[in-house]
């Protein structure tokens, strides 16, 4: 323990702790740009500077370990002026187009300029008018708005081990860019969107294609079907001032109808369907000596990563399409005819916590008989934007149920929204399919929580199965390397590219802390705890779909609609 003095007040701190951590705990706000929670400080931006007694010059609080007796002033005129000057310099060549920016009202740079009282342009930098990179199906990069904080570079490299972007050039010519100044589409970017979530400005945003959706809604010939992913209902409330972790599934259904969607389905239904197929696939692989461990395939960023980085390991990937694609496939491949609608007139929209889902929906192997399973994908953030555009208010909307038949879900399907959830859901059903008995385990604590690597052993009908749930592609890379090197004690591996899973996906609200992610996760666990229907194999509508149309899991129709193939892929700069 150390005792230090901050702005004349005595404060306790752990010896060696970074000053910034102490300040935050004490509720003292100092702006930061390059600082990232849980990562080594770089001390690059100098926005967090404070005055420390006896130290010449200002010190960066993010990289300044406290020691006993330290005395600091966080808001001395000198410190405040220094911060203000830094922000003014950042603004010197920033395009002043806040009104047109996707991050208007949700921007660190804007906030800092406001808080520091920047009211006029004191510095004018050279004019620079670079091209916006619109090449990727998921991510838009506007280099003009980049303030070179390096956060995206660090997430992409340290958390995702992709390193699609890096600093290029130096000095006033320095930029953040893919290799060779190429577009993201030809780089090794996997569209996870984690960079968007850390970018303090509008330099990184998602591809928005609202027009196609509104055109479909306003076209009387089109039947516009929407699905919302498990993580969305426990998140979107935050964008309307509700406490993190509030589940608004019913209100979401009602709101989507008000926006003009003809049918509102729940992706958790097709998560249940995925569980039936994937659980059966796992058992078949075990029984027939197939490739093990089996890797889950519901995260398109992870699939893309494996296709690029470990093409020799593609045999491990489950052939199941993701729940998003499965729902699209059964809506167009079965439901439409049942409902008397020409499948060609169905427009399928997916609301996802994810940017990579935009990439997935347009892949050539995600077409069934030449037609895309899913026509448009929007993120949680974009849906919030659309709701605001229409002047709807979540707080005053009465909840409604989803539509039948694809509105019914088990809470296992809902668990897909968090890391470990696919595993938990699949194991419940695999156990039942293998033994005819329910798994005697109300929850699999070992694969719950925000840890990046979670492992467990479970008993399925006398066979001990090793399972692992990892999130963050750097963690996935480590595990794949182990397996490649001969590790054989795991049979089933779940991977989600985003740390903590889809609840922390690249399409989720920007500027939320770890607490919000925890709360979303907890909300999914509470739904599961309180649910009557907790297993995919008891979902009546899933059973009906098999009876009426699909036959058995892994059958011919499933194969045609619900499964896919993979191929090696390499960045082609």
């Amino acid at each position: 323990m150390s005792t230090i003095e901050v702005n004349g007040r005595t404060v306790q701190a752990d010896a060696g702790e970074m000053l910034l951590a102490v300040l935050r705990r004490e509720g003292i706000s100092v702006p930061t740009l390059c600082h990232m929670e849980g990562m080594l400080p770089t001390g690059a931006c100098r926005l967090c500077v404070v005055e420390a007694e006896g130290v010449p010059g200002l010190v960066p609080s993010c990289a300044f370990p406290v020691r006993d007796g330290l005395k600091v002033q966080t808001h001395s005129p000198r410190a405040v002026q220094a911060r203000k000057t830094i922000v003014e310099l950042l603004l010197a060549n920033h395009p002043d187009d806040c009104l047109y920016c996707a991050r208007n009202g949700d921007c660190d740079l804007q906030d800092m300029a406001g808080e520091l009282g920047v009211r006029q342009r004191r510095y004018s930098g050279g004019h620079w008018d670079p091209k916006v990179d619109l090449s990727s199906p998921a991510i838009v990069r506007d280099p003009a708005k980049c303030i070179l904080c390096g956060r995206c570079v660090r997430v992409c490299e340290e958390v995702q081990s992709v390193a699609a972007i890096d600093f290029v050039g130096r000095g006033t010519g320095a930029r953040v860019s893919p290799a060779f100044h190429a577009g993201l589409n030809v780089s090794n970017c996997v569209d996870c969107g984690q960079c968007i979530k850390v970018c303090p400005t509008g330099a990184l945003t998602e591809q928005s294609r609202f027009k196609a959706i509104f055109d479909a809604i306003h076209n009387p010939a089109k039947v516009v079907v929407v699905q919302h992913a498990p993580a969305v209902s426990v998140t979107i409330g935050e964008q309307f001032g509700l406490k993190a972790g509030t589940d608004v599934a019913g209100v979401l259904n009602a709101t989507l109808r008000r926006l003009g969607f003809d049918q509102v389905f729940d992706t958790s239904f097709s998560a249940d369907l995925t569980v039936m197929e994937e659980g059966s696939e796992l058992l078949a692989r075990v029984a027939n000596g197939g490739t093990l461990p089996m890797f889950t395939s519901c995260c398109p960023a992870w699939v893309d990563f494996l296709e690029q980085e470990y093409p020799d390991m593609l045999g491990h990937l489950s052939s199941c399409k993701s729940p998003q694609q499965m729902l699209g496939a059964v809506v167009k491949g079965w439901w439409a005819r049942q409902a008397g609608v020409d499948p060609a007139n169905v427009f399928m929209v997916a609301v996802m916590p994810c940017t990579a889902k935009k990439y997935e929906a347009q892949l050539p192997n995600m077409l069934t008989d030449g037609d895309p399973d899913v026509d448009a994908v929007i993120t949680t953030r974009e849906l919030a934007r659309i709701i605001r555009m229409r002047g709807l208010d979540l707080a005053t909307t009465e909840p409604e149920g989803p539509d039948t038949p694809f509105g019914e879900r088990s809470s296992a399907g809902k668990l897909f929204g968090a890391s470990g959830g696919v595993m938990e859901a699949a194991v419940r059903t695999a156990h039942f399919l293998a033994t005819g008995k329910e798994l005697d385990m109300p929850r699999m604590q070992a694969v719950r929580g925000l840890d990046g690597v979670k492992e467990a052993r479970i008993d399925i009908g006398g066979t001990s199965v090793g399972v692992a749930a990892v999130s963050g592609l750097a963690n996935a890379r480590r595990l794949v390397e182990e397996i490649r090197a001969g590790r054989s004690d795991v049979q089933f591996v779940e991977v989600m590219a985003c740390p903590g899973g889809c609840i922390n996906g690249g399409g989720q609200p920007i500027r939320c802390g770890k607490d919000a992610i925890k709360a979303r996760m907890q909300a999914l666990y509470s739904i599961d705890r309180d649910a009557k229907l907790r297993c995919a194999h008891h979902n009546e509508q899933v059973k009906r779909l098999y009876e009426a149309f699909l036959g058995a899991p892994l059958g011919e129709r499933s194969h045609h609609l619900l499964h896919t193939t993979y191929g090696a892929r390499r960045a082609e700069y």
Partner: protein, 154 residues
């Protein structure tokens, strides 16, 4: 991959990341510039992402990413030349050739490079074309000098 690059990579064997700059230098020496294929090959060889290799390479002025032109123009931006107005000389070269420093004209005739001090301060501001020095270059002389080389190329 060209055999020259292959030869360099073989020479360096299973080196670690700290070999990056020496390898890039050797590849440029062998190939005249760092092509995309070369950067990709170096990245694969060292198991580094291409963005890292490109990032490091672009940090240093010594690396060029386009093949040299038939006439390689070096502009001295050392102190003496700076004082004598080499910034304006560089500007007029860029305008005349429609390229930036480090680039090569589309017809492959000229490439432009900025060098720190060429060691001919007495001739400032000085440019060198394929090693031939031009002394006391005023910005308005640039076109004439370039045209002389264009004639030579015919």
């Amino acid at each position: 991959m060209s055999s020259a690059i292959e030869e360099v990579l073989n020479r360096y064997g299973e080196g670690g990341r700290d070999q990056l700059i020496p390898i890039l230098q050797a590849v440029q020496e062998a190939d005249g510039h760092l092509s995309r294929a070369a950067v990709m090959a170096v990245a694969r060889h060292l198991r580094l992402p291409p963005s890292k290799v490109f990032g490091v390479a672009t940090f240093y002025n010594q690396f060029r990413f386009q093949p040299k032109g038939r006439f390689h123009v070096q502009v001295c931006r050392g102190t003496a030349c700076h004082v004598k107005g080499s910034a304006a000389v560089l500007e007029s070269l860029k305008r005349a050739l429609k390229i930036e420093a480090g680039q090569t004209t589309k017809d492959g005739l000229f490439s432009l490079e900025v060098v720190a001090c060429i060691g001919a301060c007495g001739l400032a501001p000085v440019i060198a074309v394929n090693g031939e020095f031009h002394a006391g270059v005023a910005p308005d002389r640039v076109t004439g000098i370039l045209n002389a080389y264009r004639r030579r190329a015919k």
